[in-house]
């Protein structure tokens, strides 16, 4: 399989990249890791006139703590996240998700920001970012703007990113001094989409839940933020009753469909179990921390 013909550009600055996006007026795509885009082009689901390769732009591969949060540059690979010690403890949700993205070879090239821009409803990072809270930095020749993750996903493979914008990085919000979380994923085999995934994040505040983040993968038309479950936990102690209730609410919020990976009923049940397990892990994280 070959992609349809396209022009290839390897700009060395973001200005140049943005100019190219302007020039092609919606017909160019940004190439980062290429692990979703190139397969789409080979299958001819995507046939952009031009590719603007970000890999030749310096300075986009930074993964660092920043003002209590994290900065993840546009070229930070899944593998870098998998290996980074920064993604433990308060950022445990990210650390747990990274080694579960696709397979080890794809993780060598694929990027976090690229996954978010791709907006596959089955993508794992979308749920992770919805749970922990993050803001994307989007740049165009008109300037830069911030897109809260809550406003990014508009539907399957559809984001609020403009056609002339490139994601230059994202900032994971400061979860506060005491936080924990995890990502649970059921997959039939390595590299398959999640049958169900659950991203759990809890920021603690004086022994109670300051903010809970719960988001689900594979059980809706996009990554799904279980806001009722999150709200039910706010201000409460993370005890058995609270955990069970939140898990029930999250499962109710799921919109699973029957498919080859399982029945809707089964997936809803897995979602409930995963949220329960994830919250228990977070509760233990608190006692450890």
């Amino acid at each position: 399989m070959y992609p349809a013909r396209f022009e290839y550009f390897a700009p060395t600055t973001l200005e140049e990249a943005c100019e190219l996006l302007d020039r092609f007026d919606g017909e160019a795509k940004v190439l980062a890791g290429g692990q979703s885009l190139i397969p789409l082009m080979k299958l001819r689901f995507a046939a952009p006139q031009a590719l603007v390769d970000l890999n030749t732009v310096a300075g986009l591969d930074t993964l660092a703590e920043e003002n209590g949060g994290l900065h993840i540059g546009a070229l930070v690979r899944h593998k870098t996240c998998e290996r980074s010690e920064l993604l433990g403890a308060r950022f445990g949700t990210l650390g747990a998700a990274a080694p579960q993205i696709s397979d080890p070879i794809v993780r060598n090239l694929g990027t976090v920001c690229g996954s978010l821009a791709h907006a596959d409803p089955q993508g794992d990072w979308g749920s992770v970012m919805l749970a922990v809270g993050a803001d994307l930095e989007a740049r165009s020749s008109a300037g830069t703007r911030t897109i809260p993750i809550e406003e990014l996903f508009q539907g399957p493979f559809t984001t609020s990113l403009q056609e002339n914008e490139v994601i230059t990085g994202l900032r994971v919000r400061d979860p506060g001094p005491k936080a924990a979380g995890t990502y649970l994923k059921l997959e039939r085999k390595v590299g398959d989409y999640a049958t169900v995934g659950a991203a759990i994040h809890v920021s603690f505040d004086n022994g109670t839940v300051g903010r809970a983040g719960i988001a689900l993968t594979g059980v809706g038309p996009a990554n799904l933020k279980a806001t009722a479950a999150e709200d039910a936990l706010a201000g409460r102690e993370l005890d058995d009753d609270a955990i069970v209730e939140a898990a029930r609410l999250a499962a109710e919020a799921a919109e699973p469909q029957d498919d080859v990976r399982g029945s809707a009923e089964y997936k809803r049940s897995v979602a409930r179990v995963f949220v329960e397990r994830g919250l228990r892990a977070a509760a233990e994280g608190r006692s450890d921390g």
């Binding site: 399989m1 070959y2 992609p3 349809a4 013909r5 396209f6 022009e7 290839y8 390897a10 190439l31 290429g34 692990q35 190139i38 397969p39 082009m41 080979k42 299958l43 590719l51 390769d53 890999n55 696709s102 397979d103 080890p104 070879i105 794809v106 060598n108 090239l109 390595v190 590299g191």
Partner: protein, 172 residues
């Protein structure tokens, strides 16, 4: 050049690509849409890299790009410009097989052999980073490479074999 005859006569833009493959410098003019796997197999004639599923799943087309395993069906040849590639042909040094090749032979780490180039290159990268991996670490590292003969037991044994051989070599 092999596929030129069947392409329509549309105007095409090409780009110059310079790569080092198995220690040897190569330069070519390629279409941006040319995939690295086809560049290796058709442009350079290095058919040891196999094209399996063509959909980024099976790992048969794995090569090392600057030492890192990548699925060459999901990388554009133009992206390899200025970089170093190792394919299965680069493992053997003169008449001497690479320890991973010896290990796959000794442990019968292959049946049909289709997945073997990818399995070996992923294993080489693993052992570079982790010279004494556990079963679990080997299986984890190879989880992006599929063996349709399901010969995984012997593949894992082969990686252990190569690890031991390399440790002996380093110690002597």
């Amino acid at each position: 050049m092999a596929d030129t005859a069947i392409e329509p006569m549309a105007a095409r833009t090409t780009r110059a690509v310079s790569v080092t493959v198995n220690g040897e410098a190569h330069a070519a003019e390629v279409e941006p849409r040319l995939l690295l796997v086809h560049f290796l197999r058709q442009t350079l004639g290095l058919t040891g890299t196999h094209s399996g599923c063509d959909t980024t799943h099976c790992g048969a087309c794995t090569v090392l790009l600057d030492g890192v395993p990548v699925k060459s069906c999901t990388v554009l040849a133009v992206q390899a410009d200025g970089r170093e590639i190792m394919t299965v042909e680069g493992l053997q040094q003169g008449a001497e097989l690479h320890p991973i090749q010896v290990a796959f032979r000794e442990e019968h780490g292959l049946q049909c052999g289709f997945c073997t180039p990818g399995m070996m290159l992923t294993s080489v990268a693993l052992l570079q980073e982790n010279p004494d991996p556990t079963d679990e670490e080997i299986r984890w590292a190879l989880s992006g490479n599929i063996c349709r003969c399901t010969g995984y037991q012997n593949i894992v044994k082969a990686v252990h074999h190569a690890a031991a051989a390399q440790a002996n070599e380093g110690g002597s």
